[in-house]
């Protein structure tokens, strides 16, 4: 009897958690279809805010910036993180192997500290050399920096889960180092790479703090645009952008999870 009560209590807690997690999102999505210009009263279904979005050049430009930033930084982070993950795996038995945890620093560091230091760095480089003017390039660099540890970790954990004799079997079966990478290593970790790409993609799309500190006047992304816009109050237009971003991020996260699960099998 007591056990039943406990179980009910826990399940109630679970539902409560879900409510706090998803209800605010649901409200945003719901009001993005509001016919009236209000975040309190729903007067009817309408797609007018979505139409307004398409007409707003600032939003379109922010959207493209976000997309370019996310894709370019994810691709670069994938290439570098994959190499680091493989290197961590290859040298996991080394004495100073634990030093590799240093690359996890960006994960534990507060975004604001990370963002401010990146900004200070780029500004001083720019002052001395004229290179790295704040803009899309500096944003890509800083995004790559915080994406790499995630990619490396995913690749590493996939490799550690493999039978180490597979590497030897590939050598034994006449595969040269290049052929080993191409015909064995890459196909084997492919699900992990796809998963890591989508995770990096969502991290980049989501990021506001680091982007905010490293962006230039022309390179506002959607989160930065939203930040600027809500100073004037939350409009249904913002709700519509938010709804679209929720959809995109949820999709990317699900793809990441899907491919990761496939890889674990």
């Amino acid at each position: 009897m007591k056990k039943r009560t406990l179980q009910r209590g826990l399940s109630g807690f679970w539902w409560l958690t879900l409510v706090f997690l998803y209800l605010p999102l649901a409200v945003v999505v719901f009001f993005s279809f509001n016919a009236a210009n209000s975040a309190a009263r729903f007067t009817g279904f309408s797609l007018r805010w979505y139409e307004r979005l398409l007409g707003n050049e600032q939003i379109i430009s922010a959207f493209w910036n976000s997309l370019v930033l996310a894709i370019v930084s994810s691709v670069i982070a994938l290439a570098i993180g994959c190499l680091i993950g493989y290197g961590m795996y290859r040298h996991r038995h080394r004495k100073l192997g634990w030093l590799i945890v240093l690359i996890y620093l960006p994960i534990v560091l507060p975004d604001i500290v990370f963002g401010i230091s990146e900004m200070a760095f780029f500004v001083s480089v720019h002052r001395h050399t004229g290179l790295l003017q704040p803009g899309l390039l500096t944003m890509i660099i800083s995004h790559v920096t915080f994406q790499i540890p995630f990619v490396a970790l995913i690749v590493y954990s996939r490799l550690v889960g493999l039978d180490p004799t597979l590497f030897e079997a590939a050598k034994d079966l006449y595969a040269t180092p290049v052929k080993r990478a191409w015909h064995f290593l890459l196909p084997t970790i492919k699900p992990a790479l796809i998963s890591a790409f989508f995770l990096s993609f969502t991290l980049s799309i989501d990021d506001f703090v680091i982007s905010f500190f490293t962006s230039g006047p022309e390179s506002a992304t959607l989160p930065i645009y939203i930040w600027g816009a809500i100073k004037k109050g939350v409009t249904p237009e913002i709700n519509a952008i938010a709804a679209l971003m929720i959809g995109a991020v949820a999709l990317a996260a699900m793809l990441s999870l899907l491919f990761n699960r496939q890889g674990q099998r």
């Binding site: 039978d163 004799t165 079997a169 050598k171 034994d172 040269t176 052929k179 196909p187």
Partner: protein, 397 residues
């Protein structure tokens, strides 16, 4: 090579390929081997190869000696087994043959050619791994064809060889499956086929049967031996199971602490172990310390026993080996036999044979009798124990 109908065809293609290769390239085997792309005919097996190990040393870290000055010759076409407990160096030796480990010192020759410094992907040696190491991202067919593909053989050639080898190991129906749909025994055979299909000069097998249950293991032992005889390939087999080694091998090398203790045929190693380690490892419990000895007798804990003078060894010290199955209990024996008195302490009924733990002169002696038409001895029975001098073997310590 896997079926009679294709033997001649493959033989011809091998010969013509190697002949044309020899025209273009310099005939030196070393320089031809150096190029690993395109030269598929180079590694195609023609004759089984012998293996020579000269003064091999291998150490891990500062203190662990894996191999200590190993000299060994394995004949071409032989089923050779490296036998020993875990950590004896047998797997290290196999890995050096495969090229997956480099010796600290010493040379390795296969087919008379020094391949010590040749990387594994350029050695005509293939391995069946203990964990099978089938590629999870590939189908069974692609796993089988992997080696051929890496050597640059054409798709048509790969397809033909895969079908041929699948038929040879009687797993034709599994070829299109995924690896994770196979049972342990099937994986084992696919791993074997994946190595055989490359027709290496030497096939290495690293405890390939240890993960299988006893019934399947026995069946595959016979099958492996049959395959080896049929292909005439040089097999180097690693195991810690002395029964498995004896059933399958032409010759066995017993290793301990990185040193080869004895090399010989199964019956040499079993019946005439060179030292106490080999004797114990081959499953012999009846070893008795020799206190004193002469030409034709020894004094042991059991008492004075007559020996066959032909069995004479130079060592004065050491052990006397009395194999349990050579002891005769309560039998009508001729004058030649050594006779002792014993008492049954324990009886283990094994069906086809019966094992007795006897006490003879205060010492425990194991005796095995085949279970044919004779009365079983009961615990507590006094028995006359007889052993023929020719069955007694002196073993160094």
């Amino acid at each position: 090579m896997f079926s009679d109908s294709t033997t001649t065809r493959m033989g011809e293609s091998c010969m013509s390929d190697s002949a044309s290769a020899a025209k273009v390239e310099t005939p030196s085997p070393a320089s031809r081997r150096a190029d690993d792309v395109g030269e598929t005919s180079e590694r195609t097996r023609r004759e089984p190869s012998s293996i020579e190990l000269k003064g091999l040393h291998k150490r891990f870290g500062r203190d662990t000696v894996a191999l200590d000055d190993v000299d060994l010759t394995i004949e071409a076409g032989e089923f050779f087994t490296l036998l020993g407990p875990s950590g004896c160096g047998k797997t290290t030796l196999l890995r050096i043959l495969a090229g997956l480990e480099e010796p600290d010192d010493g040379r390795l020759l296969i087919g008379g050619e020094d391949i010590t410094d040749i990387p594994p992907h350029r050695r005509s040696v293939n391995t069946v791994f203990q964990s099978y190491a089938l590629f999870p991202h590939l189908s069974v067919r692609d796993n089988l064809a992997f080696g051929l593909r890496m050597r640059g053989e054409s798709a048509a050639e790969r397809r033909r060889k895969v079908d041929e080898v699948a038929e040879f190991i009687q797993l034709g129906s599994l070829v299109e499956r995924r690896v994770d749909q196979l049972s342990g025994g099937q994986r084992q055979r696919i791993a074997l086929a994946r190595a055989l299909i490359c027709e290496p000069n030497v096939l290495l097998l690293d405890e390939p049967l240890s993960a299988l249950d006893a019934g399947l293991r026995g069946q595959l032992q016979v099958e492996l031996q049959r395959i080896q005889k049929r292909l005439g390939m040089t097999f180097v087999f690693v195991t810690h199971d002395q029964d498995e080694a004896m059933v399958m091998s032409d010759r066995i090398a017993v290793l301990d602490a990185g040193i080869i203790q004895q090399v010989g045929t199964p019956n040499e190693v079993y019946e005439h172990p060179r030292n106490a380690f080999v004797a114990r490892f081959m499953g012999h419990d009846n070893l008795f310390a020799i206190h004193a000895s002469q030409e034709d007798w020894v004094d042991t804990e059991l008492g004075r026993l007559r020996l066959d003078p032909a069995e004479q060894r130079q060592e004065q010290e050491g052990w006397l080996l009395v194999r349990p199955e050579t002891l005769e209990l309560n039998a009508d024996l001729s004058e030649d036999y050594n006779r002792l008195e014993g008492q049954v302490r324990e009886r283990l009924y094994r069906g086809s044979r019966v094992e007795y733990r006897l006490e003879v002169n205060g010492v425990t002696v194991m005796a095995t009798a085949s279970n044919v038409g004779q009365r079983l001895h009961n615990v507590g029975d006094k028995v006359a124990v007889g052993v023929h001098p020719e069955d007694l073997v002196r073993v160094a310590s």
